[in-house]
Amino acid sequence: MSSVIVIDYGMGNLRSVAKALEHVTPEARVIVSADPGAIRAADRIVFPGQGAMGDAMRALRERGLDTLLGEVVRNRPFLGICLGLQALMEQSEEDGGTAGLGLLPGSVHRFPSDMKGGDGTRLKIPHMGWNQVHQCSPHPLWRGIPDQARFYFVHSYYVRADDPSVVAGTTRYGLEFVSACARDNLFAVQFHPEKSQQAGLTLLENFMRWDGQAP
């Protein structure tokens, strides 16, 4: 069975991600590291992250991971989670405007503070809790997960994609935002599969068995 590396660049607690990967594929080698050699050697890459975009980009640059990610994102199964989705975009409004890695066409925006729900009540920010994901098209990572299944979200910024062909999933919270992106061997999600019970575990297991081929 293959190895998977969870990239540890100091942005959030990665223990849950690693434990969930071990849980779905006990036979796999799960490594948590920021070591460039280990990243290059891994069969699969998970790029997680929590916190502010400015801090994340700084942390990636300090470790020389910004260019390395651009390299490895092209040639093996790659899963971005939460900030690991947002950092792939070209630009974020966070921290007074932050350039992202530019590996996916689109931008990151803050939820407006005056959003109202269906019943007229003010929607809270962060968007925290279990919300539905509409699967825009079939993908190996959606296998066995019903359309509109609920996943666990925690975020105040959301992704807008400039190219509809990279949108794999959308979610409504006041507005409709991109909750999953896919292109070639890359898949990235706004929600936390490692905290999304069965739906999340299925997605992680699908990722661990994915050959990286787009559908």
């Binding site: 969930a20 849980h23 269906g118 925290m128 999304s196």
Partner: protein
């Protein structure tokens, strides 16, 4: 359709064991936090809250191991409260696998802890627990005060004002317990819930007083809570989490089924 209202079972843990009599016939060891958490996870709990009631500080390390064990087997958000006094305590719990940490008494005595913690680990990890008791008399406008030490010590702090202040200090969520209702099984203090929900822009978890499924639903429909927390009605197997969700869904409340 949109964000689901959450149902959160709460477990009291003392020296690494679940206390206050969880009674499930199917469970071999009802005192094992991992087994109980797995059971709630299977039933569809949206999160699980652990309250560490261990009295001695030296034995707190036990709770870290409990969190590690649970977080290796249960893949939903976990909140840990009880005995959190410093950012170091918070980090230890997050590193063990907790997603959120609830700060209660320590916030009352040292509100700066909430500010410091939220800036260091992020607001989304910081839950401020508020234990409130009604202090207004008959015929007066309703007023609630913060109480510490299990509801025995008044602080003179207005509960609604306190919730606002904690939001301003960086709390990501409020866990609001009515000390008048806690353990009574006659339902939430819905007026208190509504007052705090209307005062803040962060999610509010209603707690204290749940005795049946109608109470849970009322916390959302009348109290306006984003999540409802209960202990005994789930522990004694009277209702499963699944039943609670089906009941709420039948009343038009959005839940994760």
């Amino acid at each position: 359709m949109g964000l689901a209202k959450r149902i959160i079972p709460c477990l009291d843990v003392d020296h690494g064991r679940v206390v206050k009599g969880v009674k499930f016939v199917e469970i071999r060891d009802a005192g094992d936090p991992v087994e109980v958490a797995r059971r709630y996870d299977r039933e569809g709990a949206d999160e699980i809250t652990f309250l560490d009631i261990t009295a001695s500080h030296e034995e707190r390390e036990t709770m870290v191991h409990v969190v590690e064990e649970v977080a290796s087997q249960v893949f939903i958000p976990l909140t840990v409260g009880g005995g959190i006094r410093a950012v170091e305590d918070i980090r230890r719990m997050l590193n063990a696998g907790a997603d959120k940490v609830a700060i209660n008494t320590a916030a009352v005595f040292n509100p700066e802890l909430v500010r410091e913690a939220s800036s260091k680990v992020g607001s989304q990890c910081i839950v401020v627990a508020i234990d409130a008791k009604r202090v207004s008399g008959e015929g007066e406008p309703s007023r609630w005060e913060i109480f510490t030490h299990g509801g025995r010590k008044p602080t003179g702090i207005d509960a609604v004002e306190w919730a606002r202040k904690m939001e301003a200090f960086g709390a990501g969520e409020i866990l609001l317990t009515s000390m008048d209702r806690d353990g009574t099984r006659i339902g939430f203090d819905l007026e208190l819930t509504r007052a705090v929900v209307d005062a803040v822009g962060i999610p509010v978890i209603a707690s204290g007083g749940v005795g049946n499924l109608q109470h849970l639903a009322e916390g959302v429909t009348e109290g306006g809570a984003d999540a409802v927390l209960a202990a005994s009605i789930f522990h004694f197997g009277e209702y499963s989490i699944r039943e609670a969700k089906e009941y709420m869904a039948a009343r038009g409340i959005e839940v994760r089924l």
